[in-house]
C-alpha cells in the first residue's frame, strides 16, 4: 500500500515538472538555510569531549581584591584563571586522576633547514596529564612522562601541520627541533584534533584551533615567558619586576583542569581545595570569602557564554525562514491538489476512503520534503563552507550524522506542516460534483 502511494506520488510529481521543481526548491532553500544555522549553533554549543565531559573539572579560587569582586557584572563568581603559586600549591594533590595547569605562549621555532626563517608559533605549556586527560589523539608516539615535567626535560609534542612544516610530515618521533635557544626532542605527533568549542582555554577564543606545539609547563620558568593569553592582576607589579616576583604575585593567567571520576573523588578534591585556601588565608592571602568552584566541561562552557549571540539570533531567524517557505508551500500545494479534484472525485466514487486520499497526499508532500531535504542538505554544506571561508576558521563547521538527521527531520516537518491543510481540503472533496461535471 505504502509503496503504491509513493508510486502514485512520483507520478503526480512527474506530471507537472515545473511546479514540482518549484515545490522542491522551496523546501530545499528553507532546509539549506535552517540546517546550516542549526549546525552552527550545535557546534558552538556542543559537547567537545562527550566521553568524559562530566569528569573534567575547571578549577577556580577567589584570590581577588578584598575590596572589589572579580566581576562587577557577576560579583558572585571567582576569577576565571588562577595564579602560578596556587597552581603549584594544588598540584601537590594526588586526588585527581589527571590534572594540569596550562597557558598559551608564543615562542620562536627554528626549522632544521637552514634556509627556512625562524617563525613564531602558539605553544601550549602544560603537564604530562594534558594528553591522557583530554584524550588527545596521536598519529605517532605519544605525550611525555610525568618525570619530564619536573626537570623539565626538553620534550615536545607537535601537531600534524607543524610536523609538515618542520620535517615534511612522517614519523618524526625522536627528531630534534630548536625552540627559543635550545633543542627539544619530539615525543609525539598529533593526529587531527579539533575540539569544538576549544573548551580548555576559552579566553583566547573558543573557536580557535588547538596549538601547534606542546611542551612541559616549567619551561615557562626557563624561558621567562609570559602568557600570550589573558593576564589580570589587582595588586601592584612593576613592568620591570623580576620573573620570579611575577610568578609569586597574585596575577592570574593559568587555566587549571582536573579529572575527577567519582563523586567521592570530587568531594575529596573539593575538601582539599577548601583546606588549601584556608591555609593560604592564614598567610594573609585570599582576603575574600571562600569561593572555590569546580565546573564540569558543559557547565564551564555555559558559564563562559561561548555561544556567540549572533549564532543564537541566526538560529531563530533561519527557523522562521523555513516557516515562511512552508507557508509558501501550502499555497502551491493547495492549487496543485485542488486542480486534481475531478480525479480524486473518481477515486472516491470508486471506493477510496477519505483517510486513504488524505494519506496519499501527505505521502506526496513528504516525498517533496525528503527530495527537497536532500538537495537542501547539499546546499547547506555549501553554505557552511562559505561561512567557514568568511570566518577563516579552518573548517570548524561541517555536517555530521546528527545534523544530517536534523536536516531530514526539518524537511519532514516542513513537508507535513505544508501538506496538512491541502491534504485535508482535498480529502473533503465530495465525489458527486466532479463526476457530474465530466
Amino acid at each position: 500500500m505504502f509503496a503504491y502511494m509513493i508510486r502514485i506520488a512520483l507520478l503526480s510529481l512527474r506530471r507537472n515538472p515545473v511546479l514540482s521543481s518549484l515545490l522542491i526548491a522551496a523546501i530545499a532553500l528553507g532546509v539549506a538555510v535552517s540546517t546550516a544555522f542549526v549546525t552552527v549553533y550545535y557546534i558552538y554549543s556542543g559537547d567537545p569531549i562527550p566521553t568524559k565531559s562530566d569528569q573534567l573539572y575547571y578549577v577556580q579560587m577567589d584570590n581577588w581584591n578584598p575590596d572589589r569582586p572579580y566581576s562587577r557584572r557577576r560579583p558572585e563568581i571567582p576569577p576565571d584563571q588562577i595564579t602560578y603559586r596556587d597552581m603549584q600549591g594544588i598540584m601537590t594533590s594526588d586526588i585527581p586522576t589527571y590534572q594540569s595547569g596550562m597557558f598559551v605562549a608564543s615562542l620562536t621555532i627554528h626549522p632544521p633547514e637552514a634556509e627556512q626563517r625562524p617563525f613564531r608559533e602558539r605553544v601550549r605549556m602544560c603537564f604530562a596529564d594534558f594528553f591522557p586527560m583530554f584524550e588527545v589523539p596521536f598519529a605517532f608516539g605519544g605525550g611525555w612522562g610525568r618525570e619530564s615535567d619536573r626537570g623539565p626535560e626538553p620534550v615536545v609534542v607537535i601537531d600534524a601541520a607543524t610536523n609538515d612544516r618542520l620535517f615534511g610530515g612522517g614519523d618524526s618521533v625522536g627528531k630534534t627541533v630548536r625552540i627559543e635557544d635550545r633543542p627539544f626532542t619530539v615525543t609525539g605527533v598529533l593526529a587531527p584534533w579539533r575540539p569544538s568549542p576549544r573548551f580548555y582555554d576559552t579566553h583566547t577564543g573558543a573557536s580557535q584551533v588547538p596549538e601547534g606545539v606542546y611542551m612541559p609547563f616549567e619551561f615557562a620558568r626557563v624561558f621567562e615567558v609570559y602568557t600570550a593569553g589573558n593576564l589580570l592582576i589587582w595588586t601592584d607589579l612593576e613592568d620591570s619586576a623580576p620573573f620570579e616576583e611575577f610568578l609569586a604575585s597574585e596575577a592570574i593567567w593559568i587555566q587549571m583542569w582536573a579529572q575527577l571520576d567519582t563523586t567521592e573523588q570530587r568531594q575529596a578534591y573539593s575538601d582539599f581545595l577548601e583546606a588549601y585556601v584556608m591555609e593560604q588565608k592564614k598567610l594573609g592571602r585570599f582576603g575574600r570569602p571562600l569561593n572555590n568552584r569546580l565546573l564540569d566541561v558543559m557547565q564551564w562552557l555555559e558559564d563562559q557564554e561561548v555561544v556567540p549571540e549572533e549564532a543564537t539570533g541566526m538560529l531563530v531567524i533561519s527557523l522562521l525562514f523555513l516557516l515562511v517557505c512552508a507557508v509558501n508551500l501550502i499555497g502551491i500545494l493547495l492549487g496543485k491538489f485542488l486542480a486534481r479534484a475531478p480525479e480524486v472525485g473518481v477515486r472516491r466514487a470508486l471506493g477510496a476512503s477519505r483517510s486513504v486520499v488524505f494519506l496519499q497526499h501527505i505521502v506526496e508532500c513528504e516525498l517533496v520534503g525528503v527530495i527537497g531535504g536532500v538537495i537542501g542538505l547539499g546546499l547547506s554544506a555549501l553554505c557552511l563552507g562559505v561561512i567557514n571561508r568568511l570566518l577563516d576558521n579552518s573548517g570548524q563547521f561541517g555536517l555530521d550524522l546528527p545534523m544530517v538527521a536534523a536536516g531530514i527531520g526539518l524537511s519532514l516537518v516542513a513537508g507535513l506542516v505544508a501538506g496538512l491543510y491541502p491534504a485535508w481540503r482535498i480529502c473533503r472533496v465530495p465525489p458527486a460534483i466532479h463526476l457530474k461535471l465530466q
Binding site: 608564543s106 549572533e310 492549487g335
Partner: protein
C-alpha cells in the same frame, strides 16, 4: 471603490487571504529585524576611529638572539629601525607602540580624578614612542605632544599622559582636565598628569561601549620579546611601501622574525563576526523577499485561474478591463495591508525575543514604516502580472460551460 464586494469575496474563500497575510506578516517581521541588525553592525564597522586607518601599517619584530636581552642594544636597534623606516620613500612617519588600536588586545588600567568618589573609569592605554600623534593621525585639541623628556621621567615626576577628549570628560566632567593629575582609583596614588588631549581615538576594543576611551603613555614601548612599530604611509603609497618594510628592518638586524600587516587587516579580523553576520543577513533578507514575492505570484495566479468564470461574468455584465485589474490590485492591497499590520506587531515581538537572545538593537517606527511601504510595493508588483492575465479573460467564457 469595490471594497465591499472584495471583502465579501475574500471571506467567502479565506484560505488565500490567510496564507498571504501570514506570509507577509512573517516576512515583514524577519526582514525588518534583519535590516535592524545589519544597520547596527554596519554602524559599528564604519564608525570613524579617529585614526588614519587606510595608511597605517604595523611591523611586529620578535628578536631571537640573546643580544636583545640588553635594553641598551634594543634602544640602538630601535632608533636605527625608526630612522630607516622614516627614510623610506612613501613613508610619512613611524613610531614605536606596544599594542594596537582596533585589534582587540592591549593594556587597561583604572583612573580617577584625585578628589572623586567611586571606582574610577576604565583607561585603555598604549605605550608609545615619540611622534605617535602624527603617526596615528589623531588630532591634538589641547595641550601638547610628548617630548623627549617625557620618555624618562625623574623619580618624583609624574608620567605625562595624552588622553582622548572622551576620557578627559569622564575624569573631569567640567572640561578642565588639561594639566590635572589622575590617580589610581584603588590606592589613590598619583598615576600621572594630563598634558595633551586628542579629539578622538579608538582603543583596542572598538566593539565595546568604551571604544572612545584611550590614553597614550610615553615610554620605551617594548619588551625583550617584541618590538612593534606603527608606520604611516603617504596617502595611497601603502601598496608600494608594504613589501619594503620587512627588508628594511632586517637590514638593520636580521636576528628577528618580522610580521607586516596593515592596521585595516587587524581591524577586519577583529570585526570578522560582524562582517559575516552582515553578509549572511543581507543574503537571507533578499532570499526571503524573493520567496514571499513568488508566493504572492503563485497564490494570485491560482486565484485568477479559479475565478476565470466569475471574471468572465463580470466582463459580460459590462465591467471594463481596468475595472478587473483594479479589483485585483485593491484586493492584494487589502490583503498585504492586513498582513503588514499584523506583521508590525510580530516585528516587535521578534525584536523583543532577539534582543534577549542575541543582543539585537531595538527597532524604531521609521524602520518598520519603511519596511511596510517596501513590502506593500513588492506585494503589488508581484500581483500585477497575474492580475493582467485576469483582464485578458474574454466575456465569452461565461457562455462556454454552464
Amino acid at each position: 471603490m469595490e471594497l465591499g464586494p472584495i471583502f465579501r469575496a475574500l471571506m467567502h474563500n479565506p484560505t488565500r487571504f490567510w496564507l498571504i497575510t501570514v506570509e507577509v506578516a512573517l516576512t515583514l517581521a524577519i526582514v525588518v529585524n534583519c535590516v535592524a541588525i545589519i544597520l547596527d553592525r554596519r554602524e559599528l564597522l564604519t564608525r570613524p576611529s579617529g585614526l588614519d586607518e587606510p595608511n597605517l601599517v604595523v611591523l611586529t619584530t620578535r628578536p631571537f638572539t640573546d643580544e636583545f636581552a640588553d635594553d641598551g642594544f634594543i634602544d640602538t636597534v630601535r632608533e636605527e629601525d625608526l630612522q630607516q623606516l622614516r627614510a623610506l620613500p612613501g613613508v610619512r612617519t613611524a613610531t614605536a607602540i606596544d599594542y594596537l588600536p582596533l585589534a582587540g588586545g592591549g593594556g587597561l588600567t583604572g583612573l580617577a580624578a584625585p578628589d572623586s568618589e567611586g571606582d574610577g573609569h576604565p583607561a585603555p592605554y598604549f605605550v608609545v614612542g615619540l611622534g605617535a600623534l602624527d603617526t596615528l593621525g589623531v588630532e591634538l585639541v589641547a595641550g601638547r605632544d610628548h617630548i623627549e623628556a617625557d620618555l624618562r621621567p625623574g623619580d618624583d615626576e609624574p608620567e605625562n599622559l595624552i588622553v582622548t577628549q572622551a576620557l578627559a570628560d569622564r575624569l573631569y566632567p567640567d572640561g578642565d582636565a588639561l594639566g590635572k593629575s589622575v590617580v589610581d582609583p584603588d590606592t589613590r596614588e598619583i598615576f600621572g598628569q594630563i598634558v595633551g588631549i586628542i579629539r578622538e581615538m579608538h582603543n583596542a576594543w572598538p566593539r565595546s561601549s568604551i571604544a572612545g576611551l584611550a590614553m597614550l603613555r610615553p615610554g620605551p614601548a617594548y619588551d625583550q620579546r617584541e618590538i612593534r612599530y606603527m608606520v604611516r604611509t603617504e596617502p595611497g603609497a601603502m601598496d608600494a611601501v608594504f613589501n619594503e618594510l620587512e627588508p628594511t628592518v632586517l637590514a638593520v638586524n636580521g636576528d628577528r622574525i618580522v610580521n607586516v600587516r596593515s592596521l585595516a587587516d587587524y581591524k577586519r579580523k577583529y570585526f570578522d563576526d560582524e562582517a559575516v553576520l552582515v553578509k549572511v543577513l543581507t543574503v537571507l533578507a533578499a532570499l526571503l523577499i524573493g520567496v514571499t514575492s513568488l508566493g504572492i505570484i503563485g497564490l494570485t495566479s491560482f486565484s485568477v485561474t479559479q475565478r476565470t468564470r466569475e471574471i468572465g461574468t463580470r466582463r459580460a455584465l459590462g465591467a471594463t478591463r481596468s475595472a478587473v485589474l483594479r479589483y485585483f490590485v485593491i484586493e492584494i492591497w487589502v490583503i498585504t495591508g492586513i498582513g503588514l499590520a499584523i506583521g508590525a506587531l510580530l516585528t516587535y515581538a521578534l525584536n523583543y525575543a532577539l534582543a534577549h537572545l542575541a543582543d539585537a538593537p531595538s527597532i524604531g517606527w521609521p524602520l518598520i514604516a519603511t519596511g511596510i511601504v517596501f513590502l506593500w510595493v513588492i506585494g503589488l508588483i508581484s500581483a500585477l502580472a497575474p492580475a493582467f492575465r485576469a483582464t485578458l479573460v474574454p466575456p465569452v467564457v461565461t457562455t462556454r460551460t454552464v
